[in-house]
């Protein structure tokens, strides 16, 4: 039905998920980590829409799931930036390594 095999979309999704996960583990800047998490959420969204397409049921559950993910991502970014901003006001750095008042 589609001239592009769905496996290709899943491959892109997996690649983006691992890029995002690697970014979370490698980068130390809080805002960049937040961006990498957004990439991972996007990868999940692509997988959901692609699966939804393959299953083609009456209710596009995957697409509905993606709508909810959008809401959650927006809420998460808003709260995350507020937290970063509040921390930055007290201690002007966004490097996670430089924030270590608490041992651990």
């Amino acid at each position: 039905m589609l001239s592009v095999p769905l496996g290709w979309f899943i491959a892109v999704s997996s690649a983006l998920f691992f890029i995002g996960a690697a970014g979370v583990l490698v980068r130390r800047n809080a805002v960049v980590i937040l961006m990498c998490v957004e990439l991972m959420l996007n990868a999940a969204n692509l997988a959901l829409v692609a699966f939804s397409r393959r299953l083609s049921d009456a209710t596009p559950r995957g697409s509905v799931f993606v709508i909810f993910t959008f809401v959650i991502a927006a809420a998460e970014v808003a709260v995350g930036l507020a937290i970063v901003l509040a921390a930055y006001r007290n201690q002007p750095t966004v490097e996670v390594d430089e924030i270590h008042e608490l041992k651990g």
């Binding site: 892109v12 939804s52 509905v64 809401v71």
Partner: protein, 166 residues
């Protein structure tokens, strides 16, 4: 016609993956943020190619629009680390310039993706109607919970950053 959709797919996939890699690899945070926007845009194209044009529309609206801009504001308010500027490699300025045509390609490819999505006969209303039926009727409960979530996030974000009474 059979080779056009795969071609568009390859272009969009390259944009998504390259944008994602750039988020991780670029040393400057503004570069990361813009690459993220690029990756999101390519993703909208992929959604369109899958025939989910409503999702693609929301993707542009929420991710490319709201979230990218929000993160750029975050970058602006927390300052761009000047220390990184010295350590910039010679090709990074050029990489920044490369973003501009890439974004252009992304927009064009997204628009094309809309026209080459699939050979299925689309019912009138596209994917919007089943989606709206699902979200507002079947999924009414999680929808209400999600609206409370947005309210909670709003109150929380304001409580964390408002100035004044402390």
């Amino acid at each position: 016609m059979d080779f056009i959709a795969p071609l568009i797919f390859v272009i969009l996939a390259a944009i998504v993956v390259a944008g994602g890699l750039a988020v991780v690899l670029l040393p400057r945070i503004t570069g990361s943020a813009l690459s993220m926007g690029l990756s999101f845009l390519g993703m909208a194209g992929l959604f369109a190619l899958l025939g989910a044009e409503t999702i693609a529309f929301f993707q542009v609206l929420i991710y490319v629009g709201a979230i990218t801009v929000l993160i750029l504001y975050g970058v602006m308010l927390t300052g761009v680390a000047p220390a990184g500027a010295d350590r910039r490699l010679f090709f990074q300025k050029q990489a920044g310039w490369a973003l501009v045509p890439l974004k252009f390609v992304g927009v064009v490819a997204t628009v094309f993706a809309l026209s080459f999505q699939s050979n299925v006969v689309q019912q009138p209303g596209g994917d919007l109607e089943p989606l709206a039926n699902a979200v507002f009727r079947d999924y009414a409960f999680p929808f209400e919970v999600a609206s409370v979530l947005l309210l909670a996030a709003m109150i929380g974000a304001i409580a964390l950053v408002k100035r004044g009474d402390d």
